[in-house]
Amino acid sequence: MAVRLQREPFDLGAEVARLTEGRSDTGAVVTFSGLCRDRADSGARLVSLTLEHYPGMAEEELSRIEAEARSRWPIVDALVLHRYGRILPGEPIVLVVTLSPHRAAAFEAAQFLMDYLKTSAPFWKSEETDEGEAWVASKSTDDAAADRWRS
C-alpha cells in the first residue's frame, strides 16, 4: 500500500509492473488515470493547470482514504499517486491502482478511492486559459459520488 505525491509525470505501465511483479495471487488489477483536458470548465482552451496542495495533510488524507478502502474491500495492494505543480493538457494528474483476487472488489475500491480523493484530499486546481487564471469550482456531482459510499 502506498501513497505518493510528486511534481513529475508518472508512467502507468511502470507503476503497475512494480505492483504486480513477482506476485501471482492477484486476479484483478484496476487502474484509474485522471488526465488534464484541453478545455477549461468555462469551455475556453486550457493552457495549463496548476495544482496547489496542503503539504503534510495531502499525504495523511490520502493514507486515511486508502486505509478506509483496505478495510472495506479485500485489496492485496494499492497505489494512490497525485501530482502537484504545473500540468499541461494531455498529461496525467492522478493515478489509482487496486489489486485484488476479485474484479468487483478491485473496481469498487478504485472508484471509492477516486470519489473520496476528489472531495477530501487537499488539492486545488487553478486553470490558465487565454482569458486568464481562475480557480476551479468544486462539483456537486463529486460530492454526490462520495456520498454514495456513506451508509
Partner: protein, 83 residues
C-alpha cells in the same frame, strides 16, 4: 496557534500562513472565522457570507463546531478540487 491558507482563501487574505492568538471566548472554528472577519477587509472577503470555506485542525478535516483548544495548526481552504 498557526493559521494556514490555501487557494483563493490564501489569495484573498494575502498570505499563506500566520501566527495568531485568539481571545478566550473564541472556542470553535466557527468562532475563529467570526473573529478573523473583523480583522480587516481581506479576511472579510475570504470568509464572506456565502463563500464556502473548509477547515482542518492539525491536518484533519473539521466542521465549524469543532473546538480549537489545543490546536497547533488550523487551515482554511476552498472545497477540494483535486483528482
Amino acid at each position: 496557534m498557526k493559521l494556514v491558507y490555501f487557494a483563493w482563501v490564501r489569495e484573498r487574505i494575502g498570505r499563506a500562513e500566520e501566527e495568531t492568538e485568539a481571545p478566550d471566548d473564541v472556542a470553535t472554528v466557527g468562532d475563529l472565522v467570526g473573529w478573523l472577519r473583523k480583522r480587516g477587509p481581506e479576511y472579510e472577503s475570504a470568509f464572506a457570507t456565502g463563500a464556502v470555506v473548509r477547515a482542518a485542525i492539525d491536518r484533519r478535516h473539521v466542521k465549524p463546531d469543532a473546538a480549537i483548544a489545543g490546536a497547533r495548526e488550523i487551515a482554511f481552504f476552498p472545497p477540494m478540487t483535486g483528482g
